[in-house]
């Protein structure tokens, strides 16, 4: 067999294609084709009115997108709110969750008693199924019977309406998300930290560098690949958030904590909204793609310059 292959059969050029075919077919079927269909369908409004199922959709160009960015439109008002919330949510997760994960990793990267237990305790939230964890939080945040308010009340505070106050509910969901993900990010940072050779710290101490200087001039620069990776995944995770909302008030009240993907999910069941659903999906993918690509481009350039 191998001998025959080496003779370069006329079909040999097919071999690499055959080998990637299974993956390629799946990617085409489940990623590329649907993506192009979504782009196409976002330019149509489905038939509305009676017996809509049998009628063809109307081509409307970019009207779906225009409606989305029109605050007085029934879908536009909701979309703009969810879009703004998603950006706030993503930035908060990245700006608080990632440094918190790094801080936890630094704290748990030294020899101390019960180290395994601490690490497990911090990592534990990431092991919980998200919908279950969010349900626990819905109890904690409950207005009348919740743990959070019970604690506040022991300090004489009347308690907060965590999931009912429109100014608080997005914050509540951000808290749950950070709690859930900080431990997960910590694992990446911990792995990164353990790849840094000990001896450079020793030599820098001999040179008189304190812990803060070591962190700023050694640890952080050497962790930059990990930081970039964690920032990218935390940002994309933020755009994929659905479960927390399902358990914690479904994005309400009045969409004050609604996020893009959940809004898409909420509107998928009525035919008349399919055009908007496709258009929202395009916007969502677009934002994530731009962010991710720009990060990787910066990262790649950095690597080649080194």
């Amino acid at each position: 067999m191998p001998a025959r292959l080496r003779q370069k059969s006329p079909l040999a050029f097919l071999q690499p294609y055959l080998l990637i075919a299974p993956t390629l077919i799946l990617v085409l079927m489940f990623n590329v084709v649907p993506a192009f269909r979504t782009v196409n369908d976002s330019l149509y409004k489905p038939a509305r009115g009676l017996n809509a199922a049998g009628k063809p959709p109307d081509y409307v160009g970019v009207e779906n997108f225009r409606d989305l960015f029109d605050d007085s439109h029934y879908m536009g008002g909701r979309f703009l709110r969810a879009f703004r919330n998603t950006i706030i949510f993503a930035l908060a997760t990245v700006c608080i969750g990632v440094p918190l994960g790094l801080l936890l990793a630094l704290l748990l990267n030294r020899r101390q008693p019960l180290l395994g237990l601490w690490r497990f305790a911090v990592f534990y939230p990431s092991l919980l199924p998200l919908i279950g964890a969010a349900s626990i939080w819905s109890f904690i945040f409950s207005d009348s019977i919740g743990l959070a308010n019970a604690v506040l009340k022991t300090f004489g505070h009347p308690g907060l309406n965590w999931l009912g106050d429109r100014n608080l509910v997005l914050l509540s969901i951000i808290i749950v998300n950070i709690w859930k993900q900080a431990g997960y990010f910590m694992i990446f940072f911990l792995a990164g930290l353990q790849n840094i050779p000990r001896n450079i710290y020793e030599s820098s101490s001999l040179d008189g560098a304190g812990p803060l200087e070591q962190f700023a001039y050694l640890t952080l620069p050497l962790l930059r690949r990990t930081v970039l990776f964690v920032v990218v995944i935390s940002f994309t995770f933020a755009f994929q958030t659905v479960e927390q909302l399902q358990a914690l008030g479904e994005g309400g009240p009045a969409d004050s904590a609604n996020l893009l993907l959940y809004l898409i999910f909420q509107n998928i069941s009525e035919r008349r909204n399919w055009g908007y659903v496709n258009a929202m999906t395009i916007v969502l993918i677009g934002v994530v793609l731009i962010f991710t690509l720009s990060n990787f481009l910066l990262f790649e350039r950095d690597e080649t310059n080194r």
């Binding site: 409950s142 999931l163 429109r166 008030g249 069941s269």
Partner: protein, 434 residues
Amino acid sequence: MALRQTAIVLLVLIFAMTVGATYAQDEIVIDFYFPSATANDAEGIFQGYADMFQEENPGISVNPVFTGSYTDTRNTILTELQGGGAGPDVAVMLSIDLYSFAEEGYIVPAQGFIDAMDMGSDYVGDFFPSLMENGVDEMGNVWSIPFQRSTPILYYNADLLAEAGYDSPPTNNAELVEIAQALTTDERDGLLVPVAGGFPIWMYQSFAIAFGQNIVSDDPTEVYFNTPEAVAAVEFVRSLGTDLGVGPAGGAAWGDTPVAFLAGQAAMIYHTTGNLTRILNDADFEVGVWYLPSGPAGEDGTGYGAPTGGGNLYIFDDGSKSDAELDAIWRWVMFLSSPEIQADWGATTGYIAARASAWETEPLASLAEEHPQYGIARDQLQHVGKEFSSYATITIQGIINGTLESILTGEAEDAQAAMDEAQAQIDGILAEYR
């Protein structure tokens, strides 16, 4: 050797296919999808009903499929049908799903089957008229048959009311506020109305109806969301959490409400009859149940009003089903809506049995005698109005819920302005159907 094995496999396959084909020819299989919003063993109960039905109807078998919540059920069915799948033959879906499914052409009216019956009008006449409303179109055709129906009712802690000197529950919203204020303490809310958490429309409708104008009519292209009554109703609900101070600002969350009531942290609550059995079982105080006193006193001094809720039986056919299949499907619908099954299902779950005769049938008859609270929900049916349903129901319901939430949480201070804007959006959508 290999040849022989292949031959055996082929023979087995052919045999299996022949058996399968004969089986399919002789037996009609009804796919029945049902949601469950209660913690009971719905799957076991429906399998039991299916077995009973099969015994009475040889040659027809029922395949009960549990499909999650109402929303999951709706989405499962839509996904299957929109993707070209077979979907169910009969399903329990919200009574307000009528126009969404009729619009798509997936369901057929029950009217044709009723007309073909000997005593069709007696059959329909046995159902409580207010429970039929959501299943009938503007031409008077019956589409779906009431199955597991509910309404919101007032639950009150009779011990607390008695301590404060009230022997009877409130009968209008002035009394409601008076009692709620008397029973509000630092530790306890006087009244919880679960309008927080995504779905205020149902509870809100109680107030709109009691203030004198339901937000829907028999015409699925008309919605009345910015009438003076509709505005006054939402302003009253908002004031419960603000000026009147008998509950949390913005309203209570759906799931917390019965928990707080059972824990003695709320003296009165609005909640569904679907929770009646659980609340009666779990309360360590005397639970009173009454009609919802949501509106100002009328001529007789009362101000009652509530919407209906819950699920109906729908028949699915795209025109491809044979007469024999349709006959079997209708038999199953008749079976599930029979007084015996209605009485059994109502007694097990707390849903309101939808037919008058079911209340004279065991086990419901003795249960209602033992716990008069079950009868209150039924008697309230004289004061109820249609649950919100129109063309584009989901989208319009979303607009109404969003508007109500922004008013109740104080984001939109001017209720009239917010409701005018919503009404304009709604009319824009409904214009396509007029």
